[in-house]
Amino acid sequence: MSTFAAVVLFAGVLAYAVLGGADYGAGFWDLTAGGAERGRRPRHLIDAVLAPVWEANHVWLIFCLVMLWSAFPPAFAAIMTTLYIPLGVAGLGVVLRGSGFAFRKVLVVTDHQRAAGAAFAASSVITPFCFGTVAGGIASGRVPSTGGGDPVGSWLNPTSVLGGVLAVLVCAFLAAVFLTAEARRRHDESLRRWYARRSRLAALVTGAVALAGIAVLHADAPRLLHGLLTRGLPLLIVSALCGLGSLTLLRHASPRAAQAAAIGAAGAVVAGWGVAQYPYLLGDHLRIAEAAAPTPTLGALTVVAAAALLLVVPSIALLFVLHQSGRLDSH
């Protein structure tokens, strides 16, 4: 039962990583799109694509928090009392990002737009970085079961920094592929090329960092690396193949296939982490079963998750279908 709850929780993490990740990545390209004039068109595409879906994508974060604190209360408390700095920053980053984005759409004066846009873009990079360091801290076993761990070392360490950088890069990659596909759907050849170039760049850099990460993990978190290279290996291979695949597909096949491959690439990395860490929730000291809430709570959460499956998934599907068919363009 507790394993099932952990799987549900992890499914939430995966959904957030992929859907929220693409959102954050869009902010990354927004930040790097250059001056007001040069970056106008790429930014406009981001606005148009994100506006209808960002809030729904971001509820996955709430889902993860709620699942974690209800199903695994002691682990939640331990994480929160240890990693409070990156989590506090991420929490405020979410505010800055969401409101900055919502405001920018309405504002007319370029200066104001720029301020709101800068808030959106900068926090789009900082927030996933923070979440990445949190993942690194948990995975490398720096969160003690009883909480109150090192408030700095738990997230300023090689594995965490690797996690943070990878998170930002994966988000950027996902977003670039999504936006390329979107530009193509809109028959905007120059924008398509603009984003395709960035997809390739992001893929290249992400791959390089991931390879270098092996050395980092070897020195800093050998057990995690071992898990990744044994049980997690198939997933890592899938991820690499999907990453390469999405680049080829971008050029030749339908945009949807490229998007799917990019999702596969990002999702498989995250899933690899989960598999490598199983059966532990924190590092290799707090087992899933030890941290689990009483069975009726897990049962109630299962009911809620099932209801979500029945209600939320079709609704999201409706939203995405309307969105991708251009029926919800944000202007």
Partner: protein, 457 residues
């Protein structure tokens, strides 16, 4: 022995909750107003109503975003500030939040479909995409308030050695305080959305005279608020009596009753200090009559609360005054509703008095004040407990880090967000005022390419 994190953590929780709760009525009830306007527009072919619905949906989109992100911060804070609460009771307390998450998921999805679906989804089909928004708002609010009610009257769990070992989810959710707290909050949300929206258009009434759009923008929300208000006063009275029976300590604090006894007066105002109420206007037998309908109703005093868990004098004063403010505001709003109802009954329109716009503006402000004051009654009135009878606030608080930094950063950020929100709403208003009712603004008309061109600027 009091952890240094306690004070800033309490302040921060109070501040961020107080911020979030102002946005709640917009996600909850303003969306309902928007649907009423659209319904009217579709049903009667009323262009003005459709334009209004569309504009309101744009406002709702902005405020929903701010509400969503400020709610997310609250979720972080539950862990960052109150790990003692979540670590120990998350297995029970967390369940209502899981249900809330489900509802807000649906709400976020359908808000997007509704807001961005104008022009693209035909008439009634578009209307129906708004209905889940309203229903999910109600469901979400019921669930969060269930969590809060559980803190006041915890139930549905078994403890062994201080650990939650058994949970009965339905008892957790439908706890003793659930029904009255949630109904009271739902109605409050509808009141606040109604009076606040009406206040905005009342300002317009003063300026623009009898512009039809302004009139409609005033009438729809004010009608709703005027219907809800008497119900709310009745419910408030029931709530107070429930608190009297179920949470005698909180009731003693609300009424600032120093010693247990009968023939307890209802003291309006006043400051509680060392077992006495200084100042204030006593209404003889008032509290006894209101709580038990008889002057000899016995009311438990603050002296009956064990000394270790007695609220401080300052807390008693805050709760007592906050209660008076809520009830006072409620009475004002009742009078306003009656005035409006009378005028509507006589000549199907808002009162013609030149004082009416001002009265409506004050009403909008007071509705928010009542909402905030009511929450202060509930939350400060629970002190020193976080989970009544089980967990003291000082044991719930985090022991890590310097919370003042987090609080300061939060204050700065929220100030900026609040400022920007107001600015953005004003930009929207100016845009609408300048454009008048141009054809591109009419829903289901030609696509509004021009307005979006401005947005890209």
């Amino acid at each position: 022995m009091e952890p240094s994190q306690l004070l800033p953590a309490r302040e921060q929780m109070a501040f961020t909750l107080g911020f979030h709760i102002i946005l709640v009525p917009f996600g909850l009830a303003f969306t309902f107003l928007m649907l009423v306007a659209e319904w009217r527009g579709l049903r009667r072919g009323d262009r003005d109503a459709l334009v209004l619905a569309r504009r309101w949906s744009q406002v709702a989109a902005v405020l929903f975003a701010v509400g969503a992100v400020s709610g997310t911060v609250l979720s972080f804070e539950l862990g960052l500030l109150w790990p003692g609460l979540m670590g120990r009771y998350g297995a029970a307390f967390g369940i209502p939040f899981a249900v809330e998450g489900l509802f807000f998921f649906l709400e976020a999805i359908f808000v997007a479909v509704y807001v961005y679906g104008w022009d693209r989804l035909p008439g009634w089909r578009h209307f129906w995409t708004g209905v889940p928004v309203v229903l999910a708002g109600i469901g979400g609010t019921l669930s969060v308030v269930a969590a809060n009610a559980w803190m006041n009257q915890p139930g549905g769990f078994t403890l062994r050695d201080g650990r939650v070992v058994g949970v009965r989810p339905l008892e957790v959710f439908f706890n003793g305080a659930f029904w009255y707290e949630s109904v009271h909050m739902l109605l409050a949300g509808y009141m606040v959305a109604g009076f606040l929206t009406a206040a905005v258009y009342a300002r317009g009434l003063r300026r623009a005279g009898n512009d039809r759009m302004v009139r409609l923008g005033l009438m729809i929300p004010l009608t709703m608020a005027a219907i809800v208000t008497p119900v709310q006063i009745f419910v408030g009275d029931v709530v107070a009596r429930e608190v009297f029976h179920r949470e005698p300590a909180k009731f003693a604090t609300i009424e600032a009753v120093p010693t247990t006894g009968t023939h307890v007066p209802e003291v309006l105002g006043g400051v509680y200090s060392r077992g006495r109420v200084l100042g204030g206007i006593p209404v003889p037998n008032g509290a006894s009559l209101l709580s038990g309908f008889r002057a000899d109703t016995r009311i438990q005093g603050i002296d009956a609360i064990p000394e270790e868990v007695r609220p401080t004098d300052r807390e008693v004063t805050i709760v007592h005054l906050a209660f008076d403010v809520m009830v006072g505001a409620g009475m004002y709003l009742l009078a306003l509703s009656a005035w409006f109802g009378l005028a509507w009954w006589r000549d199907r329109g808002p009162p013609g008095s030149r004082w009416f716009p001002l009265a409506a503006i004050v009403g909008g402000v007071l509705a928010v004040v009542a909402l905030e004051a009511g929450w202060v009654v509930t939350e400060v009135g629970r002190q020193p407990w976080t989970v009544v009878g089980h967990l003291l606030t000082r044991d719930a608080v985090t022991r890590s880090g310097n919370v003042w930094f987090f609080f300061a950063a939060t204050l700065v950020l929220y100030a900026a967000v609040a400022f920007a929100t107001v600015h953005v709403l004003r930009v929207l208003r100016r845009r609408w005022r300048d454009s008048g009712v141009d054809p591109s603004d009419v829903p289901y008309g030609p696509a509004r390419a021009d307005e979006s061109a401005v947005g890209e600027g």
